[in-house]
Symmetry: C2
Subunit: 164 residues, 2 copies
C-alpha cells in the first residue's frame, strides 16, 4: 500500500463572527486496513483485535475492528480543516464509543455548533460519527477557540507513506 | 524514515477483580516528526502548523506542534495495552488540551484508577499526559469495561512503514 502525496489544496476557516448556532458540516471518511495500521503504528496499540484477521474471527466481532480513538482523530481533523477550520485552537473533546468500526466502513463525521461564548471566542460543537447503516459509532462534544480572522492557507503536502 | 516490524511481544491484562482504586501505570512516548506525519495521513489534517517548519516558525508556537488528539491516541493505547490491557472495551474519553506538544517532546502518559462499578465491570481512569518539563499537556478521564478473565495474547506484528 502506498499513498502518493496529496495535491496542495487550500484550507479555509469560518471566522468566529460568521459562525452561527446550528451551523453544521459533514465529512465522509472510508476506513481501510491502512488507517488501522497507521493508528497502530503511531499509538503503539498492537492488539490483534485490530490487526489479525484470524484472531478477530474468533471473537464476538468476527472481524478486525478499528481503534475507537480513530473516530477521535477524524473528529479532530474535521474541526481543524472545516469547522471552524485553520487557526482554531482545540481545547477539549468528550467522546463515547457506541458501536464498533470495521475496516471498509464509510463513516460520516457531522459537527454542529451548539453554543458560543463570545468573550473567549469559544465554540461548542456536537460531534456525531455514523456508519453507512446510519448507526452512530461515536458521539461527543468539542470545545474550540475559533480565529476572529479569515484564514486561507495551503494544506501541507505529505511525503509518500508505503506500507509493505 | 522506516520502522522495522516490532518483535512479537505479549500483551497481558489486569482482570477486573484485580484492579484496585489508586492503581496507576505510566508509559513514556517520544513524539517525532514520524508520529505527526502518520497522524496527518490517517486523519487527513494537513494543517501546516503541524507539518511545515517554515510556516510554524511564523506563528506564536515558533515550531511545528503535534495534533492535540495524538495525546488521545497515546492514552487509548496505554489503556489497551497496560491498564486494564487486552480484552478491555473502551466506552468513552474526556480530554482537555492544556499545552502544545512539540516534535521531540517526551510524553509520560499516566493512568490512575479512580472509580469502579462492579455491576458493569466499568473502570474510570484519570488520564494525565505530561512532557519532559513536567507540564501537563492533556488530561481527562476514560471509561473502560475491563475483562473479568485473564488475557495473555501476542501483540500483532506491524508491516514495515516507510516515509519518504
Amino acid at each position: 500500500m502506498s499513498e502518493t502525496p496529496t495535491q496542495n489544496s487550500m484550507l479555509s476557516n469560518i471566522p468566529y463572527g460568521s459562525i452561527a448556532i446550528g451551523h453544521t458540516v459533514s465529512v465522509e471518511k472510508t476506513v481501510s486496513q491502512r488507517e488501522i495500521i497507521l493508528f497502530a503504528a503511531l499509538s503503539g496499540d498492537l492488539n490483534p483485535i485490530h490487526l489479525d484477521r484470524h484472531y478477530a474471527a474468533s471473537t464476538d466481532f468476527g472481524q478486525p475492528i478499528a481503534h475507537g480513538m480513530l473516530c477521535g482523530a477524524f473528529i479532530s481533523a474535521t474541526i481543524a480543516t472545516h469547522l471552524p477550520g485553520p487557526g482554531s485552537i482545540y481545547r477539549g473533546q468528550t467522546i463515547k464509543f457506541t458501536q464498533p468500526v470495521f475496516a471498509c466502513d464509510t463513516l460520516t463525521i457531522t459537527l454542529t455548533v451548539i453554543n458560543k461564548k463570545d468573550r473567549l471566542k469559544l465554540v461548542t460543537l456536537a460531534c456525531v460519527v455514523s456508519n453507512q447503516d446510519n448507526n452512530v459509532v461515536a458521539k461527543g462534544e468539542a470545545s474550540v477557540i475559533a480565529s476572529e480572522e479569515k484564514v486561507d492557507i495551503a494544506a501541507s503536502e505529505l511525503p509518500t507513506i508505503t506500507i509493505n
